[in-house]
Amino acid sequence: MTKRIFSAIVGVSALVVALGMALVVGVLYGHFSGQLEKELEKEARYLAVAVENGGAEVLEALTGQQERITLIQEDGTVLYDNRASVGSMENHKDRKEFQDALKYGSGKDSRQSDTLSEQTVYYALRLKDNTVLRVSSTQYSVLSILYGLLQPIACVIVVLLVVAGLVASKASKKIVEPINRMDLDHPETTEAYDEVAPLLTKILHQKRTIREQLLEAKRRQEQFALITENMEEGLLVIDSKTELLSCNSSALRLLGGKRLPDPQSVLALNRSEPFRKAVETVLQGNHEILSIPLGGKVCRLIVNPVFREKEVTGAVLLLLDITEKTCREDLRREFTANVSHELKTPLTSISGFAEILRDGLVKTQDVERIGDRIFTEAQRLITLVNDVIKISQLDEGCIPYEKETVNLYRMGQEILERLQSEAEKADVTLHLEGGQAELVSVPSILEEILFNLCDNAVKYNRPGGSVTLSVKETEKGTEVLVTDTGIGIPASQRDRIFERFYRVDKSHSKEIGGTGLGLSIVKHGAAYLGAEISLESVEGSGSTFRLFWPDTAE
């Protein structure tokens, strides 16, 4: 802008100077030409009087005359000339000023010389004797004057242009300065030219719009980030070249990848075969839902292609951790299968005995024995169903029991009393150790746990062995130990004994009895009551189950 203003000012100055020069030269030239003509006329009249009175000889007496003086006869013959010899001069009757002088008494003409640089002005006057007196003078033409003045004119022009340049540079800077000084961040406070005011208003308006839009965009982005970051599910957005566009932290966690410097391919996060295949499928434009193993977890992967104008431009991948669900499903399936099996065994016996009874195949003396068997099997069924009910209640966590203060020592005494007859049968002695210990807990569940543990300790014992129930209140919490001198549990099976229907020695399970759900109930019950359960066992010499309630948990 400064440049344009500068050149405009300098251009205008140059134009003004040039036009001024031309006008001055033109006007002055016209003025001087007129002046010259007048002088010539005056001199001609003065000489005419002299020649009429004194004859042509007067002319010869004149010296130092600047003008050229010629005396011409009526027929055009030159009688006298003060610049050239008369003999060499041609006839002048064709000359315009001569003819005009003869006709009208006076005549004038001006002619360019051959070089164009000079112009001769003539004035002719008819004398009384019909001779014509002509006075002429040479003057420079406009061009030659200009040519002659070229140097000074150039000097003047240069000086003027330099001055114009300096002034223009200053002026243009001054004009542009307020525009440069405009604070575009705060256009409302800027005072500049009125002409830019609409522009500033527009800028202000657009600034507001941009700010609002930015805020809106930021808000949406934050909203999106907030939603996706707090999702348990992994969300990934990729483009058609598998490059990751967006990815939440759950997705990174599930895929077991680290965020790399962008851009990166989603395959850099995980390149396992099923995942790769799923990505390929989705980028071909197919929707798919599949379960894939991911680093020890099972995930449901839902892939959706993103279309724009019927072309796949990317995909949205959703990952759900279904490890627990799958695990539970497996457990449930196993449980159902086991329960059905356990239910079927006694039912088959009952059904078999009932059948032979109906068909009258049983002797009278055997009826009692058969009845006893049916009763035993039915009892087993009831116990099993009870256990299943207990465990599903613990599973669901919806037990309608209220907590109350329990005297653990007294509870231990009662349990051991209940087991006394069975223990005697198995030739196992029961001991209770420790002192008074109280616990706020659900008595029925607690009793179930302790009973199951002690019952197991008796069942899996050896003749002459012992079971010790120890109740203690330590500094850190309440501790219950059930120690037996039994067969012990092999190290490899210790993790599995709490599973439902799991038996260490499957071949003898029928003899020992029980449902196979005892320890499972213990585990779930302990978890429900907030107790830690641990096991120490030496194969062949006994096991110790330890229940511990940390004080903080109470």
Binding site: K241, P263, S265, L267, R271, E273
Partner: protein, 220 residues
């Protein structure tokens, strides 16, 4: 023009990840073949090997196109030349996985895999391949270094297996023909380890510009 170049470089990266993943699939399936006889697994190794060969050609032509059209320099040139070297190692891994899968049924039938540490060796080799691909994916120098170190363990296992086989043959308590198959499988695994080391070295090269070829001898 440059954008297109960057896009192609990214594509190259993704393709190599895919090829690496295929190698992992092939070698781990081959390792499983050594544990149990399963026709389906064997077929999987063969088809994956074919896919790997296909991928090698694809990546090679992509590299050549990049070299010809874009005339890359410095780091980009290094990445592309390392890629070209890497894929030939990966292709060899695929081939050797297929070779192992071919031998595996004989070894499993004679229940030989339980008597020597071939499964351990397979596991170690799979780990090396996985790590070398991972090092490439993450441009992880430390992991590449780890792969190179792990090779010693695989070599040691090979020597151990060789000794055990010799001992078994000497005691004549094993079919010598199958022992040879076992030895071959072990050798292939050892080779796969070497190729994984090569891949790791090319990863180092593409990051640092220095190649450790004077320490190890890549059999390209």
């Amino acid at each position: 023009m440059r954008n297109r170049f960057d896009e192609q470089l990214e594509q190259l990266h993704v393709e190599i990840i895919k090829m690496g993943a295929l190698c992992e699939t092939a070698i781990s399936a081959a390792a499983q073949c050594l544990q149990k006889e399963e026709k389906e697994l064997q077929r999987q190794v063969f088809s994956t090997d074919a896919e790997i060969d296909e991928k090698e050609k694809e990546i090679e032509s992509l590299c050549l196109r990049l070299l010809l059209h874009q005339q890359p320099v410095a780091g980009d040139l290094r990445r592309i030349s390392a890629a070209m070297k890497m894929i030939s190692d990966m292709e060899r891994i695929g081939d050797q996985a297929a070779d192992i899968a071919e031998l595996a049924p004989y070894i499993v039938q004679k229940n030989l895999s339980g008597r020597v540490k071939i499964v351990d060796m397979a596991r170690a080799a799979v780990g090396m391949v996985t790590d070398s691909v991972e090092a490439f994916v993450r441009s992880d120098l430390a992991l590449a270094e780890k792969v190179i170190e792990e090779d010693d363990a695989v070599d040691a296992l090979f020597d151990q297996i060789k000794e055990e086989i010799i001992e078994q043959i000497r005691r004549q308590d094993v079919d010598a023909k199958v022992s040879m198959d076992l030895l071959m499988a072990a050798k292939y695994l050892e080779r796969i380890g070497d190729h994984a080391v090569n891949v790791a070295e090319w990863v180092q090269y593409s990051i640092t510009g220095v190649h450790k070829s004077n320490e190890h001898h890549p059999d390209l």
